[in-house]
Amino acid sequence: MRKFKEFIIEKLILLSGLTSIFFVVLIFLFLLKEGLSVFQIVTPCDFLFGKSWYPISEPAQLGILPLMMGSLIITLGATIISVPIGVACAVYIAEVAPSRIKEILKAGIELLAAIPSVVLGFIGMMTLVPWIKNVFHLPTGLTALSGSVMLAFMAMPTIVSIAEDALYSVPKSYKEGALALGATHWQTIYRIIVPAASSGILAAVMLGIGRVIGETMAVMMITGNAAVIPTSILQPVRTLTATIAAEMGEAVVGSEHYFALFAIGIVLFIISFIINVTSDLFLHRERK
């Protein structure tokens, strides 16, 4: 009887495991089926490197280069802002902060992670956007820079918490060894602890970037959504994600526009997949 129970439970667990994989495969197949149809209309090369995105003009121009550039510039900006601050914050929490401040900071970071992206977007729209408009004397504050800043806030919790874990998992004996050789606290941190945690920190950065690339709501609200190839960070841009979100509602099912949006989905899927695999590799290397 007990054996039978074990058997049932085992199979149930197996089934739930398989279900999640099954759904991922289904989603992917659906994405492929809908997305790949677009290549009957445009070549993959024209799709990826075409400079204009006018999906409802006649004939439709379906080049997503401006969108990819938009995603890229915002991701780059957000990375440049969030990585130094996030890593420094993780080092501070893991190595420097007294325990009381550590608790407060960690709670604060978790709170930041809990803010819905639409709220962050709204706050950005009300505060950051007018500020950028005034400071740089721009016609509009809805720029790539605004998006980068707000997305940096979204990437930070991921970066901080994973980098912090990586720093904690550095064996205490390294730290003791360095201090016992007369290294100062700071020398111990930058010569031993951070390099020892580097693969975990890289994974943290990759996952932070993954978060930024996939983010939709906040960028849609504050980047201006102009599908042009940006030449400066102070221009409005449109990202891959915002394009899907903004246009899916008005695309006619089965139209080339509709297929093109699914193809953008495939591109996003591939990018996130690469980022996740890379960060997994880094995390795996660290555990070894």
């Binding site: 004996s173 003791e176 060894g177 360095a178 201090l179 016992a180 050789l181 007369g182 290294a183 010569r191």
Partner: protein
């Protein structure tokens, strides 16, 4: 006799726990001093007083005086960087940094701002621990690829590179096999010519084999301190006798 480390009225508390109780002892230069005693008797804590590693623990309070070459290292204005350069430490588990062998040896020099002429130092330090011949062609390899014994030797070479003159060893052989242990003990005898060594061990035979002086600790007190042969042949205190004859511990 040249006093190297002089401890007077040393008391140490971890918050409310009285870990070291009124320790008074004088350790000689260029000798191997062993500290023995059962687990939790405070022998590692005492060792960690000599390079102030206990400062890393929250809530530690130390009173009394510890003079090293005449300077009270417990004074608040003690420069810990200089102290730890002078008083090196070898840990229970070999802890080479995840860097190359070469970088490990010169780590101490680098943090003390010495960046030139490092090659001869690496060679001499590795020769002193008999690693040079085996490793001279793979100095750029990661130190983590070494055997445990090699790692422990490398950790000793790190101290030789910064010219420590006191070497504290916290159970340096407890993770090594008997052959490696014998060879590390030989190395200690060799190093004694230049360095003053304090070793904490709960391996009594090891203390008997390598040390010149031995201190026996129990529950935070230094029960007896004497020449090693005296401790092991005619201890004055019945508690010491009980421990070395294996009645407890």
């Amino acid at each position: 006799m040249i006093p190297k480390i002089q401890v007077s009225n040393l008391n140490l508390y971890y918050s409310t726990f009285h870990a070291l109780k009124n320790i008074n002892v004088t350790l000689e230069a260029k000798k191997i001093t062993a500290i023995i005693g059962p687990s939790g008797c405070g022998k590692s804590t005492l060792l960690r007083v000599f390079n102030r590693m206990n400062d890393l623990v929250d809530g530690v309070k130390t009173t009394g005086e510890v003079f090293i070459d005449g300077n009270n290292i417990l004074a608040t204005d003690t420069n810990l960087v200089d102290l730890r350069k002078k008083v090196g430490m070898v840990f229970q588990r070999p802890n080479p940094f995840p860097l190359s062998i070469y970088e490990n040896v010169i780590f101490g020099l680098k943090v003390h701002g010495i960046k030139k002429n490092l090659d001869p130092v690496v060679e001499n330090s590795l020769k002193a621990v008999s690693l040079w011949d085996g490793l001279k062609d793979r100095l750029k390899k990661s130190a983590l690829s070494l055997t445990l014994e090699e790692k422990q030797r490398l950790c000793i070479a790190r101290l030789i590179a910064v010219k420590s003159d006191i070497v504290l060893m916290d159970e340096p052989c407890s993770s090594l096999d008997p052959q490696s242990t014998t060879r590390i003990e030989e190395l200690m005898r060799e190093l004694k010519k230049e360095y003053s060594i304090v070793i904490v061990t709960h391996n009594m035979q090891q203390a008997a084999r390598v040390s010149d002086d031995t201190g026996f600790m129990l529950l935070g007190e230094l029960i007896e301190f004497n020449k090693t042969e005296v401790i092991f042949t005619k201890p004055h205190d019945s508690r010491t006798e009980g421990y070395i004859t294996g009645r407890y511990g």
